[in-house]
Symmetry: C2
Subunit: 431 residues, 2 copies
């Protein structure tokens, strides 16, 4: 299916107007950036780059896509669209890179016509995926090496769920419950069991939790995770070990005071000799409750709603702004929405220890001289319409690990604060 109609109508009416007066062929650069991080956040994690590069290839106007456009576009615009393929260049931050206010995470260069058409799709992808990855990275950071599973598919749009699983995986989650994400992106699929399965084993004599556990172990082996809180947690754990034996993979607790229950269940499991049986907790977890469980004997966190909704920040506030026309920097002057004109690139400075200190955004042709260790953040992604590399989730995950490690300690705090490092804009030289 073409992605071309996943677009705002005005992109196409602007195209029609620009084709008519000739300005459609002007050489432009558009930039994707966020003016600010979500309130109180100290860093963000770029995600969506790989999906955007894939979507570029699907952004074609076939007959099905053109049909509904006939009602409001003239023939020459339809002709343009029929032949459309993006032929420009894209530069930007690698997927998994940290970002801060103003970071030029994507820079799209080509004719106005081809760049303007990509606005809505680019923003949809980056705003969604970056919001999820940014929230997920905070959870990964406070989980301090414990396993996180993304299981929020049911809390978000069914296709957004697939992208959310991908973004959470980039941020460091170990896997997802979502099968399509497993199929499409190779992300490890994980799962336990639901209360419904236990309750299904109800007869006129009442609930029969052991029958449910037995059925699950028979089908999935003792390495499975049994859900022990459908009726009574203590009885559930006893039933689980009675049925599965002390080699049971894990038990899951999905309700109640998770810290208290985890300690009690750990003691019970150990008493029963199931010292290797792990504890999975779930139920409205977010980065704050994960942090609060740090001292408790939890092996794995199952995270749903909070990760797929960006934990309070479901969109990353990215914008797609025209910054250069035929080599001239341009910028808007309406109140409180200043943008910085000119095509830009960025460096990140650090101390010799590796702790980052500042992000420097500069005109692409004029990198500043710096004395500190500096890393170039802007890399080429597309040349003449062709992506230079396929998306690499492993590389993106590694970048997140390195990014989190590079933050000053206060940058990892969960509390509301300022961005972890300042962003400096090197002004465009006036002509």
């Amino acid at each position: 299916m073409t992605a071309a109609l996943l677009t705002d109508k005005y992109e196409l009416t602007m195209l029609a107007a620009a084709l008519r007066d000739g300005s459609a062929e002007r050489r432009t650069t558009f930039e994707v950036f966020a003016r600010r991080l979500p309130e109180g956040r100290r860093y963000g994690v770029v995600a969506g780059t790989g999906r955007f590069l894939e979507a570029l290839g699907d952004f074609i106007f076939d007959d099905e896509a053109l049909a509904p456009l006939r009602s409001f576009l003239d023939e020459s615009t339809l002709d343009y669209l029929r032949d459309f393929r993006f032929t420009g260049d894209v530069d930007g931050y690698a997927e998994g890179e940290l970002y801060f206010p103003g970071s030029p995470i994507l820079s799209v260069t080509g004719t106005f016509a081809e760049c303007v058409l990509l606005e809505t799709l680019a923003l949809s992808i980056f705003n969604h995926d970056t919001a999820i990855a940014s929230a997920a990275a905070r959870m990964v950071s406070v989980a301090a090496g414990r396993t996180l599973i993304e299981m929020g598919s049911r809390r978000t749009h069914e296709q957004a769920a697939v992208a959310a699983a991908r973004a959470a995986y980039i941020a460091g989650f170990a896997g997802t419950s979502n099968l399509e994400a497993n199929h499409r992106y190779g992300i490890p699929a994980m799962g336990t069991s639901a209360h419904a399965f236990t309750m299904l084993h109800t007869t006129s004599d009442g609930p029969d939790e052991k029958a449910a556990f037995r059925a699950q172990v028979d089908a999935l082996g003792v390495g499975t995770t049994l859900l022990v809180d459908t009726y009574d947690v203590t009885a559930g754990v006893a039933n689980a070990i009675e049925v599965a034996g002390t080699s049971l993979g894990a038990v899951r607790i999905d309700s109640g005071d998770l810290g208290v229950l985890a300690r009690r269940v750990r003691a019970q499991l150990d008493d029963l000799g199931a010292t290797g049986t792990e504890i999975v907790v779930s139920g409205d977890l977010d980065e704050f409750s994960i942090a609060a469980l740090r001292a408790d004997p939890v092996n794995t966190y199952g995270v749903g709603t909070s990760v797929v909704t960006g934990s309070g920040a479901p969109t990353a506030s990215m914008v797609y702004k025209l910054v250069e026309v035929d080599g001239l920097p341009v910028q808007k002057r309406s109140s409180r929405k200043e943008s910085h004109g000119g095509r830009k690139a960025a460096l990140r400075l650090s101390r010799p220890t590796g702790t980052i200190t500042e992000e420097v955004i500069h005109p692409v042709a004029a990198p500043p001289e710096v004395t500190e260790p500096a890393r170039v953040l802007t890399v080429p992604l597309v040349r003449d319409g062709e992506p230079l590399a396929a998306a690499d989730l492993t590389a993106a995950r590694e970048l997140v690990v390195r990014g989190l490690r590079s933050l000053p300690w206060e940058g990892l705090a969960l509390s509301q604060g300022e961005p972890a490092i300042p962003t400096r804009q090197v002004p465009v030289r006036s002509r």
Copy 2:
């Protein structure tokens, strides 16, 4: 493309276990409901019903869908899936109906096997679409008859954007910027212009707003909407009328103090003789800022981020719970997550004036006797796997209008409060 992999892995492992011990064939009812409304909200609007019924037909396991399942499912489970088609019954609230805590908005009856498979997809659709429609209805209500356009595609996942446009339209928005929503659902597509288009008309002599306006009017006619805040609003309005004449359709203001600017622009337009030129405002609008603009001369609100992210509540907290097995009511007893067993239906009571007073949720076989005017909320949606009617967006929009009209006055307040009416659960008769 099949929807079957838009599913959590555990639905399939539970299926495998249930097939193995024979419980898969037990007759079950699952219910979709929300334990609570988003914090402080007084009502919700059901949306997603039509999308869910459509998705039912796409929920098949073709060879592509089966391939990734081979790694963890046995042959007999794969055989079951190969032949799978939902053959059960679905009842529920019509799309566009109001709902309150506990409202059984969907009730799915069939074998455990066929019902459990639908859990993730059903919840994804209802949690997303209902969240958007519920936020959008508050905006519609405070806009008090003025036009609302959904233009938030760029702030949410690209496919979620299409569903969001649909949900906002159900709630009473007049249209959307999203072309795919127009194509797929026939929702009116609307659009204005972007700052980039104005800035594109920059030359070495500087910006040329009039050239941009002229190009737009030439291509789209004087009925178009010109964006007047790229540089200076007063100059922008003057340029707009100079180029388009006093028959200009509308001007859009996208930044600054929208109330102040709207009043100033209205006066300026009237002075220029453009008394019929309308004013469109946009820029981080939500229900509160729409309400605050009530006294200002605004014709149309363009709403983006807040509507597609549910204005603070991006998911509706709907759950899908097993409530009945082979005629036996079942319920979970873990802490603070009580559910009410048994298959249920609902009535909404009202005063003779039409103002609603209470929602009564009762065992499906035992409707209570009531003396007040009552409306049956639970209607048949699917019989033997076949949807009884196609989705009807016009009917859903009409239901929202009637629903909002039926609320007690305090139910329409934007401030945080209790649900507008209480929900009463008629207990399952004990056996």
